[in-house]
Protein backbone atom coordinates (compact mmCIF):
# COMPACT_ATOMS: atom_id res chain seq x y z
CA UNK A 1 0.00 0.00 0.00
CA UNK A 2 2.79 2.37 0.94
CA UNK A 3 4.60 1.65 -2.33
CA UNK A 4 1.47 2.29 -4.35
CA UNK A 5 1.04 5.60 -2.61
CA UNK A 6 4.62 6.54 -3.41
CA UNK A 7 4.25 5.68 -7.07
CA UNK A 8 0.98 7.56 -7.30
CA UNK A 9 2.47 10.59 -5.62
CA UNK A 10 5.43 10.63 -7.99
CA UNK A 11 3.20 10.16 -11.02
CA UNK A 12 1.04 13.07 -9.93
CA UNK A 13 4.05 15.27 -9.31
CA UNK A 14 5.58 14.31 -12.66
CA UNK A 15 2.34 15.17 -14.42
CA UNK A 16 2.04 18.54 -12.75
CA UNK A 17 5.66 19.45 -13.44
CA UNK A 18 5.35 18.34 -17.07
CA UNK A 19 2.21 20.40 -17.54
CA UNK A 20 3.83 23.47 -16.02
CA UNK A 21 6.87 23.09 -18.27
CA UNK A 22 4.73 22.51 -21.35
CA UNK A 23 2.92 25.73 -20.62
CA UNK A 24 6.20 27.53 -20.13
CA UNK A 25 7.58 26.13 -23.38
CA UNK A 26 4.50 27.28 -25.29
CA UNK A 27 4.85 30.77 -23.89
CA UNK A 28 8.55 30.68 -24.73
CA UNK A 29 7.88 29.67 -28.35
CA UNK A 30 5.39 32.50 -28.68
CA UNK A 31 8.00 34.90 -27.46
CA UNK A 32 10.60 33.54 -29.86
CA UNK A 33 9.67 35.98 -32.65
CA UNK A 34 11.85 38.22 -30.56
CA UNK A 35 14.85 36.01 -31.34
CA UNK A 36 14.77 36.78 -35.06
CA UNK A 37 14.87 40.48 -34.25
CA UNK A 38 17.69 39.85 -31.85
CA UNK A 39 19.64 38.02 -34.56
CA UNK A 40 19.13 40.95 -36.94
CA UNK A 41 20.25 43.36 -34.24
CA UNK A 42 23.31 41.23 -33.54
CA UNK A 43 24.24 41.17 -37.23
CA UNK A 44 23.86 44.93 -37.52
CA UNK A 45 25.97 45.42 -34.39
CA UNK A 46 28.67 43.30 -35.99
CA UNK A 47 28.58 45.53 -39.09
CA UNK A 48 28.34 48.65 -36.89
CA UNK A 49 25.15 49.66 -38.68
CA UNK A 50 23.10 52.04 -36.61
CA UNK A 51 19.44 51.25 -36.11
CA UNK A 52 16.46 52.33 -34.07
CA UNK A 53 15.14 49.85 -31.54
CA UNK A 54 11.68 49.85 -33.16
CA UNK A 55 12.89 49.67 -36.77
CA UNK A 56 15.22 46.69 -36.58
CA UNK A 57 13.45 44.72 -39.28
CA UNK A 58 13.22 47.64 -41.73
CA UNK A 59 16.84 48.71 -41.31
CA UNK A 60 17.98 45.12 -41.65
CA UNK A 61 16.11 44.50 -44.89
CA UNK A 62 17.51 47.65 -46.50
CA UNK A 63 21.04 46.48 -45.70
CA UNK A 64 20.87 42.73 -46.24
CA UNK A 65 19.41 40.27 -48.71
CA UNK A 66 18.21 36.95 -47.39
CA UNK A 67 19.34 33.89 -49.33
CA UNK A 68 18.24 30.37 -48.48
CA UNK A 69 20.51 27.60 -49.80
CA UNK A 70 19.66 24.11 -48.70
CA UNK A 71 19.01 24.13 -44.97
CA UNK A 72 20.94 27.28 -44.28
CA UNK A 73 19.97 30.90 -44.44
CA UNK A 74 22.62 33.37 -45.55
CA UNK A 75 22.37 37.10 -45.30
CA UNK A 76 24.24 38.95 -48.03
CA UNK A 77 25.09 42.53 -47.29
CA UNK A 78 24.01 44.98 -49.99
CA UNK A 79 26.36 47.61 -51.34
CA UNK A 80 23.71 50.22 -50.62
CA UNK A 81 23.18 52.37 -48.67
CA UNK A 82 26.41 52.66 -46.68
CA UNK A 83 27.79 49.21 -46.14
CA UNK A 84 31.47 48.85 -45.38
CA UNK A 85 31.63 45.28 -46.63
CA UNK A 86 29.42 44.96 -49.73
CA UNK A 87 28.75 41.41 -50.83
CA UNK A 88 29.90 39.88 -47.59
CA UNK A 89 28.02 36.91 -46.23
CA UNK A 90 26.84 36.50 -42.67
CA UNK A 91 25.19 33.38 -41.31
CA UNK A 92 24.37 31.48 -38.18
CA UNK A 93 25.96 28.15 -37.41
CA UNK A 94 26.16 25.83 -34.45
CA UNK A 95 28.01 22.80 -33.17
CA UNK A 96 28.90 20.94 -30.03
CA UNK A 97 31.25 22.57 -27.55
CA UNK A 98 32.58 20.84 -24.47
CA UNK A 99 29.24 20.82 -22.61
CA UNK A 100 26.77 22.60 -24.78
CA UNK A 101 25.74 23.55 -28.27
CA UNK A 102 27.63 26.69 -29.24
CA UNK A 103 25.71 28.94 -31.60
CA UNK A 104 27.72 31.51 -33.45
CA UNK A 105 27.33 34.15 -36.11
CA UNK A 106 30.02 34.28 -38.79
CA UNK A 107 30.58 37.11 -41.22
CA UNK A 108 32.78 36.28 -44.21
CA UNK A 109 34.01 38.86 -46.71
CA UNK A 110 32.88 38.82 -50.33
CA UNK A 111 36.02 36.96 -51.50
CA UNK A 112 35.40 34.31 -48.85
CA UNK A 113 39.00 34.70 -47.74
CA UNK A 114 38.71 36.16 -44.27
CA UNK A 115 36.31 36.78 -41.44
CA UNK A 116 34.74 40.15 -40.89
CA UNK A 117 33.68 39.06 -37.47
CA UNK A 118 32.41 36.34 -35.18
CA UNK A 119 29.80 36.59 -32.47
CA UNK A 120 28.76 33.92 -29.98
CA UNK A 121 24.98 33.81 -29.89
CA UNK A 122 24.50 31.19 -27.22
CA UNK A 123 26.60 28.76 -25.26
CA UNK A 124 26.69 27.10 -21.89
CA UNK A 125 30.39 26.30 -21.52
CA UNK A 126 32.21 26.33 -18.19
CA UNK A 127 31.65 29.82 -16.79
CA UNK A 128 34.91 31.66 -16.37
CA UNK A 129 36.78 29.25 -18.66
CA UNK A 130 35.10 28.15 -21.88
CA UNK A 131 32.29 30.58 -21.16
CA UNK A 132 34.73 33.37 -21.88
CA UNK A 133 34.21 32.85 -25.62
CA UNK A 134 31.29 35.24 -25.07
CA UNK A 135 33.57 38.04 -24.02
CA UNK A 136 33.91 40.91 -26.51
CA UNK A 137 37.73 40.83 -26.44
CA UNK A 138 37.83 37.23 -27.59
CA UNK A 139 35.19 37.72 -30.27
CA UNK A 140 36.94 40.82 -31.54
CA UNK A 141 40.14 38.82 -32.16
CA UNK A 142 38.37 37.04 -35.03
CA UNK A 143 37.87 40.20 -37.10
CA UNK A 144 40.08 40.02 -40.15
CA UNK A 145 41.35 36.51 -39.48
CA UNK A 146 42.08 34.52 -42.66
CA UNK A 147 40.05 31.37 -43.17
CA UNK A 148 42.31 29.85 -45.86
CA UNK A 149 43.49 27.15 -45.79
CA UNK A 150 41.68 27.00 -42.45
CA UNK A 151 41.28 28.91 -39.24
CA UNK A 152 43.31 27.77 -36.25
CA UNK A 153 42.72 28.69 -32.66
CA UNK A 154 46.12 28.26 -31.04
CA UNK A 155 48.33 29.32 -28.20
CA UNK A 156 50.30 32.43 -29.26
CA UNK A 157 48.69 33.33 -32.57
CA UNK A 158 51.26 34.61 -35.05
CA UNK A 159 49.94 33.89 -38.55
CA UNK A 160 47.05 35.71 -40.16
CA UNK A 161 44.84 32.62 -39.98
CA UNK A 162 45.46 32.10 -36.27
CA UNK A 163 43.54 33.33 -33.28
CA UNK A 164 44.56 33.12 -29.63
CA UNK A 165 42.82 30.37 -27.71
CA UNK A 166 41.51 30.78 -24.17
CA UNK A 167 43.85 29.28 -21.61
CA UNK A 168 42.15 26.67 -19.47
CA UNK A 169 39.53 26.11 -22.14
CA UNK A 170 41.33 23.94 -24.67
CA UNK A 171 38.29 21.77 -25.42
CA UNK A 172 35.99 24.70 -25.98
CA UNK A 173 38.58 26.45 -28.15
CA UNK A 174 39.12 23.36 -30.28
CA UNK A 175 35.38 22.84 -30.62
CA UNK A 176 34.93 26.41 -31.75
CA UNK A 177 37.68 25.95 -34.33
CA UNK A 178 35.92 22.84 -35.63
CA UNK A 179 32.56 24.60 -35.75
CA UNK A 180 33.98 27.51 -37.73
CA UNK A 181 35.93 25.39 -40.20
CA UNK A 182 32.94 23.11 -40.77
CA UNK A 183 30.76 26.13 -41.35
CA UNK A 184 33.22 27.53 -43.90
CA UNK A 185 33.24 24.18 -45.68
CA UNK A 186 29.45 24.21 -45.75
CA UNK A 187 29.50 27.75 -47.08
CA UNK A 188 31.91 26.76 -49.88
CA UNK A 189 29.74 23.83 -50.90
CA UNK A 190 26.53 25.84 -50.80
CA UNK A 191 27.93 28.57 -52.99
CA UNK A 192 29.76 26.16 -55.31
CA UNK A 193 26.50 24.34 -56.02
CA UNK A 194 24.80 27.61 -56.54
CA UNK A 195 27.55 28.74 -58.93
CA UNK A 196 27.31 25.58 -61.05
CA UNK A 197 23.54 25.83 -61.21
CA UNK A 198 23.66 29.19 -62.86
Amino acid sequence: MKEVKMVLFLLALFTICTLVLTGAQLAYDKASAIFNLRLYAEIMDLYSIEYQEDEIEETFSTNFTVMVLGDSTYYISDSEPDNEHPGSIVFKTAGPGLWSIIEILLAVDSEMESLIGMRVLSQAETPGLGGRISEPDFQESFSGADIRPNLSIVKFATLSNEVDAISGATKTSTSLETIINKAILGLDMAFQDQGSNE
Partner: protein, 218 residues
Protein backbone atom coordinates in the same frame (compact mmCIF):
# COMPACT_ATOMS: atom_id res chain seq x y z
CA UNK B 1 22.10 40.92 22.02
CA UNK B 2 24.95 38.59 22.52
CA UNK B 3 26.57 35.87 20.50
CA UNK B 4 24.78 33.05 22.20
CA UNK B 5 21.45 33.97 20.60
CA UNK B 6 21.34 31.27 17.97
CA UNK B 7 18.88 28.80 16.58
CA UNK B 8 20.30 26.19 18.91
CA UNK B 9 18.16 27.81 21.61
CA UNK B 10 14.94 28.50 19.73
CA UNK B 11 12.94 29.12 22.90
CA UNK B 12 15.15 32.01 23.86
CA UNK B 13 14.81 33.45 20.38
CA UNK B 14 11.07 32.95 20.47
CA UNK B 15 10.76 35.10 23.58
CA UNK B 16 12.59 38.02 22.00
CA UNK B 17 10.44 41.02 21.16
CA UNK B 18 11.49 40.96 17.52
CA UNK B 19 9.81 37.59 17.17
CA UNK B 20 10.78 34.24 15.77
CA UNK B 21 10.57 35.35 12.14
CA UNK B 22 13.19 38.02 12.67
CA UNK B 23 15.46 35.46 14.32
CA UNK B 24 15.06 33.01 11.48
CA UNK B 25 15.59 35.75 8.93
CA UNK B 26 18.74 37.01 10.61
CA UNK B 27 20.02 33.48 11.00
CA UNK B 28 20.05 33.00 7.22
CA UNK B 29 21.26 36.47 6.43
CA UNK B 30 24.11 36.68 8.89
CA UNK B 31 24.73 34.03 11.57
CA UNK B 32 24.32 31.12 9.21
CA UNK B 33 25.05 32.92 5.97
CA UNK B 34 25.04 30.32 3.17
CA UNK B 35 28.43 31.34 1.78
CA UNK B 36 30.38 32.47 4.83
CA UNK B 37 28.68 30.32 7.44
CA UNK B 38 27.31 27.16 5.87
CA UNK B 39 29.80 27.25 2.96
CA UNK B 40 27.17 26.03 0.52
CA UNK B 41 26.96 26.88 -3.17
CA UNK B 42 30.60 27.93 -3.39
CA UNK B 43 31.09 26.64 -6.94
CA UNK B 44 28.61 29.05 -8.48
CA UNK B 45 29.90 31.80 -6.21
CA UNK B 46 33.38 31.46 -7.65
CA UNK B 47 32.06 31.47 -11.18
CA UNK B 48 29.53 34.27 -11.35
CA UNK B 49 31.11 36.92 -9.14
CA UNK B 50 33.38 38.32 -11.86
CA UNK B 51 30.84 41.05 -12.67
CA UNK B 52 28.33 42.68 -10.34
CA UNK B 53 25.49 42.41 -12.84
CA UNK B 54 26.06 38.66 -13.22
CA UNK B 55 26.20 38.19 -9.47
CA UNK B 56 23.02 40.20 -8.94
CA UNK B 57 20.96 38.32 -11.52
CA UNK B 58 22.30 34.96 -10.36
CA UNK B 59 21.64 35.61 -6.70
CA UNK B 60 18.18 37.03 -7.32
CA UNK B 61 17.34 33.97 -9.44
CA UNK B 62 18.54 31.70 -6.64
CA UNK B 63 16.53 33.71 -4.09
CA UNK B 64 13.35 33.42 -6.16
CA UNK B 65 13.82 29.68 -6.69
CA UNK B 66 14.60 29.29 -3.00
CA UNK B 67 11.47 31.11 -1.83
CA UNK B 68 9.05 29.49 -4.28
CA UNK B 69 10.59 26.09 -3.62
CA UNK B 70 10.32 26.52 0.14
CA UNK B 71 6.68 27.53 -0.15
CA UNK B 72 5.82 24.54 -2.36
CA UNK B 73 7.75 22.01 -0.32
CA UNK B 74 6.51 23.24 3.01
CA UNK B 75 2.92 23.17 1.78
CA UNK B 76 3.42 19.61 0.54
CA UNK B 77 5.43 18.52 3.58
CA UNK B 78 2.68 16.32 4.97
CA UNK B 79 2.04 14.60 1.64
CA UNK B 80 5.51 13.86 0.32
CA UNK B 81 6.33 10.24 1.24
CA UNK B 82 9.52 10.22 3.26
CA UNK B 83 11.45 7.75 1.14
CA UNK B 84 11.06 9.63 -2.12
CA UNK B 85 11.33 13.17 -0.78
CA UNK B 86 14.63 13.89 -2.54
CA UNK B 87 13.20 12.93 -5.92
CA UNK B 88 10.19 15.12 -5.25
CA UNK B 89 12.42 18.07 -4.30
CA UNK B 90 14.52 17.59 -7.43
CA UNK B 91 11.43 17.60 -9.64
CA UNK B 92 10.06 20.78 -8.14
CA UNK B 93 13.43 22.55 -8.17
CA UNK B 94 14.15 21.56 -11.79
CA UNK B 95 10.77 22.80 -12.94
CA UNK B 96 11.31 26.15 -11.25
CA UNK B 97 14.83 26.53 -12.60
CA UNK B 98 13.87 25.72 -16.20
CA UNK B 99 11.13 28.33 -15.97
CA UNK B 100 13.57 30.93 -14.61
CA UNK B 101 16.05 30.04 -17.36
CA UNK B 102 13.42 30.72 -20.02
CA UNK B 103 12.42 34.02 -18.43
CA UNK B 104 16.06 35.16 -18.36
CA UNK B 105 16.63 34.08 -21.99
CA UNK B 106 13.71 36.19 -23.14
CA UNK B 107 14.08 39.27 -20.97
CA UNK B 108 17.79 39.44 -20.07
CA UNK B 109 19.56 37.76 -23.00
CA UNK B 110 22.97 39.28 -22.35
CA UNK B 111 23.13 38.21 -18.74
CA UNK B 112 21.64 34.83 -19.58
CA UNK B 113 24.50 34.44 -22.04
CA UNK B 114 27.11 35.51 -19.51
CA UNK B 115 25.79 33.16 -16.84
CA UNK B 116 25.69 30.30 -19.32
CA UNK B 117 25.38 26.93 -17.67
CA UNK B 118 25.08 28.35 -14.19
CA UNK B 119 21.40 29.17 -14.44
CA UNK B 120 20.65 25.54 -15.21
CA UNK B 121 23.03 24.53 -12.45
CA UNK B 122 20.89 26.31 -9.85
CA UNK B 123 19.15 22.91 -9.82
CA UNK B 124 22.16 21.42 -8.10
CA UNK B 125 22.87 24.41 -5.87
CA UNK B 126 23.23 22.88 -2.41
CA UNK B 127 21.60 25.87 -0.75
CA UNK B 128 18.22 25.13 -2.29
CA UNK B 129 18.27 21.42 -1.61
CA UNK B 130 19.72 22.12 1.84
CA UNK B 131 17.00 24.53 2.90
CA UNK B 132 14.30 22.26 1.49
CA UNK B 133 15.57 19.29 3.45
CA UNK B 134 16.62 21.07 6.63
CA UNK B 135 13.90 23.64 7.01
CA UNK B 136 10.96 23.70 4.60
CA UNK B 137 10.26 19.99 4.98
CA UNK B 138 9.29 20.37 8.65
CA UNK B 139 8.19 23.96 9.17
CA UNK B 140 5.09 25.95 8.31
CA UNK B 141 4.79 27.84 5.04
CA UNK B 142 5.16 31.28 6.60
CA UNK B 143 8.31 30.62 8.56
CA UNK B 144 9.85 28.59 5.71
CA UNK B 145 9.46 31.46 3.29
CA UNK B 146 11.02 33.83 5.83
CA UNK B 147 13.91 31.40 6.18
CA UNK B 148 14.26 31.17 2.39
CA UNK B 149 14.20 34.95 2.09
CA UNK B 150 16.88 35.28 4.77
CA UNK B 151 19.13 32.68 3.21
CA UNK B 152 18.50 34.08 -0.28
CA UNK B 153 19.37 37.60 0.77
CA UNK B 154 22.37 36.27 2.65
CA UNK B 155 23.53 34.64 -0.59
CA UNK B 156 22.82 37.85 -2.52
CA UNK B 157 24.71 39.96 -0.01
CA UNK B 158 27.70 37.61 -0.01
CA UNK B 159 27.88 37.42 -3.79
CA UNK B 160 27.54 41.16 -4.12
CA UNK B 161 30.42 42.04 -1.80
CA UNK B 162 32.68 39.52 -3.53
CA UNK B 163 31.59 40.75 -6.95
CA UNK B 164 32.06 44.40 -5.99
CA UNK B 165 35.64 43.72 -5.03
CA UNK B 166 36.38 41.50 -8.03
CA UNK B 167 34.86 43.83 -10.59
CA UNK B 168 36.53 46.88 -9.08
CA UNK B 169 39.98 45.31 -8.98
CA UNK B 170 39.67 43.00 -11.98
CA UNK B 171 37.98 45.35 -14.44
CA UNK B 172 38.20 48.74 -12.74
CA UNK B 173 34.45 49.17 -13.04
CA UNK B 174 31.26 48.87 -10.99
CA UNK B 175 28.13 47.53 -12.70
CA UNK B 176 29.94 48.04 -16.00
CA UNK B 177 30.72 51.72 -15.37
CA UNK B 178 34.40 52.54 -15.42
CA UNK B 179 35.29 54.05 -12.04
CA UNK B 180 39.03 53.61 -11.76
CA UNK B 181 41.02 56.08 -13.88
CA UNK B 182 42.69 54.70 -17.00
CA UNK B 183 46.33 54.67 -15.87
CA UNK B 184 45.52 52.16 -13.13
CA UNK B 185 45.64 48.90 -14.98
CA UNK B 186 43.16 46.31 -13.66
CA UNK B 187 44.52 43.14 -12.09
CA UNK B 188 43.21 40.55 -14.51
CA UNK B 189 43.71 37.71 -12.07
CA UNK B 190 40.70 38.85 -10.05
CA UNK B 191 38.45 38.48 -13.07
CA UNK B 192 39.28 34.79 -13.46
CA UNK B 193 38.44 31.84 -11.14
CA UNK B 194 41.82 31.69 -9.33
CA UNK B 195 41.27 35.29 -8.24
CA UNK B 196 37.83 34.26 -7.01
CA UNK B 197 39.41 31.67 -4.71
CA UNK B 198 41.67 34.23 -3.07
CA UNK B 199 38.89 36.78 -2.75
CA UNK B 200 36.45 34.28 -1.28
CA UNK B 201 39.01 33.00 1.20
CA UNK B 202 39.91 36.47 2.42
CA UNK B 203 36.25 37.48 2.70
CA UNK B 204 35.41 34.34 4.68
CA UNK B 205 38.24 35.27 7.05
CA UNK B 206 37.06 38.87 7.39
CA UNK B 207 33.35 38.09 7.79
CA UNK B 208 33.92 35.29 10.25
CA UNK B 209 36.16 37.56 12.32
CA UNK B 210 33.40 40.17 12.42
CA UNK B 211 30.80 37.53 13.28
CA UNK B 212 33.02 36.29 16.08
CA UNK B 213 32.73 32.80 14.70
CA UNK B 214 34.45 30.18 16.78
CA UNK B 215 35.35 26.80 15.40
CA UNK B 216 34.09 23.92 17.53
CA UNK B 217 36.85 21.98 19.17
CA UNK B 218 35.43 18.70 17.98
Amino acid sequence: MSDNVQLKTPKKGYRLLSGKSWMVFKEGLWHNNPIFGMMLGLCSTLAVTNLMSNALVMSLSVTIVLIVNSIIISSLRNFIPDRIRMIAYMLIISTLVIAIDMVLKIFLPDISKALGAYVALIITNCIIMGRAEAYASNNSIGISSVDALGVGLGYTFSLMIIATFRELVGFGSLFGYQVLPEPLSPMKIFSIPPGAFFTLGVFILIINTIRGHKEDDA
